[in-house]
């Protein structure tokens, strides 16, 4: 399978990438690791006229502490997240989640910014950002804006990112001591979650339970009111709208959401 023809531009800075986006408009797509975009281009679900390669922009990489947040450059690859001592100490759920993405080859190429911008409701990192209550830093023609995870994912494969904007960094709270758990139910290695659940403190996020990653709000409220984990987890599927496919019907996904939420809240990772 071969993508349709396109022009290839290499951006050497974030400002250059924004200028190229302004020049080419909605015909252009940003290319970082390409592990969501290229498969779509190969089956012609995406046919951008121009690809702007942002993977060589050094200012978009790196993981650092800024006050009470960890700031991660958008083109940081999953393998770097998984192997980062700093991230393991400050936001261990994110390092763990990054190690669950795809397989080693995919983790060597895919980037955190690309995964979040792709906004796949079944993916690891969107669910994890939502559980963490993190945010993304978006740079556009009118400057920088920060969008919280609760507002960033707006639909299936749709985010708050505009066509003339660049996701430049990801911000997550420092919380090495906050209890967390991570559960992903798959039938095969390197597959997407049939259902996923990530718990961070009192926040719970679900994957594959609707058009976007979703908060298990009823569970969170119950926990706040003093319910036990077992009681709160029974409410995990409330307010969700999972789809069905050959892996699982709606009822089974709701069942998985309840079970996986309980395990995540118990601090289990698997």
């Amino acid at each position: 399978m071969i993508p349709a023809s396109f022009d290839y531009e290499v951006a050497d800075s974030a400002a250059h990438a924004l200028a190229l986006l302004a020049e080419h408009g909605e015909d252009a797509k940003l290319l970082a690791g390409g592990h969501s975009l290229l498969p779509m281009m190969k089956v012609r679900l995406a046919q951008p006229a121009v690809l702007i390669d942002i993977a060589r922009i050094t200012e978009l990489g790196g993981i650092k502490i800024e006050g009470d947040e960890v700031v991660i450059g958008a083109t940081t690859r999953h393998a770097e997240l998984a192997g980062s001592e700093l991230l393991r100490a400050e936001a261990p759920i994110l390092a763990y989640a990054a190690a669950q993405v795809g397989d080693p080859q995919i983790r060597h190429r895919g980037t955190i910014g690309g995964s979040l911008a792709h906004a796949d409701p079944s993916a690891d990192l969107p669910m994890t950002l939502l559980a963490l209550g993190g945010s993304v830093e978006i740079t556009g023609p009118s400057g920088v804006r920060v969008v919280g995870a609760d507002d960033f994912f707006v639909g299936p494969f749709e985010s708050a990112l505009g066509p003339d904007e660049l996701l430049t960094a990801v911000r997550v709270p420092r919380g090495g001591a906050v209890p967390w758990g991570y559960q992903k139910f798959v039938r095969r290695a390197n597959d997407w979650a049939i259902v996923g659940a990530a718990a961070y403190g009192g926040r719970v996020a679900l994957a594959s339970m609707g058009g976007t990653p979703l908060r298990a709000t009823a569970t969170e409220e119950a926990l706040k009111s003093g319910a036990s984990i077992e009681e709160a987890a029974k409410l995990a599927a409330e307010g969700t709208s999972p789809g069905y496919d050959f892996h699982a019907d709606v009822e089974y996904r709701e069942h998985l959401a309840r079970v996986l939420t309980r395990r995540a809240l118990e601090g289990k990772a698997g």
């Binding site: 390409g34 498969p39 397989d103 060597h108």
Partner: protein, 165 residues
Amino acid sequence: MTEIKLTVNGVTRSDEVEPRLLLIHYLRETVGLRAANVGCDTTSCGACTVLLDGDSVKSCTMLAVQASGRSVTTAEGVVEADGSLGVVQTAFRENHGLQCGFCTPGMVMAATSLLAENPHPTEQEVREGLEGNFCRCTGYHNIVRAVLAAADKLSGPSSATEVNA
């Protein structure tokens, strides 16, 4: 057309390519290296695995232009200077780590990357480290044995093994 400059198996090259040319097609058709295979063509099976600056990647899901300025290694590039099989390749042969052989070049490169990151993997770590590579002859047991044997040869037996011995 876009000019790319890269190193393939230690040799510096420069080629004019269409931006949409996939790295696997560049390697097989432009360079003439046929070890890496196109299997699923959907980032799943790992038959097209090569090393990019030492890290395993699936060359069906990379553009050749993305490899410009980088170093690419295929299974042809891990043979010894005298042309004999490399350590990982030899371990696959000695442990019967292949049947039809289609997945083998990708398995060898994924294993090479894994051992560079983790010189003394446990059996479980080898199995998880190869989760991006499918063998449809169901030969995983011997593949795992081959990778563990290669680890011993490359880095010596792990300290745990020495204690047990």
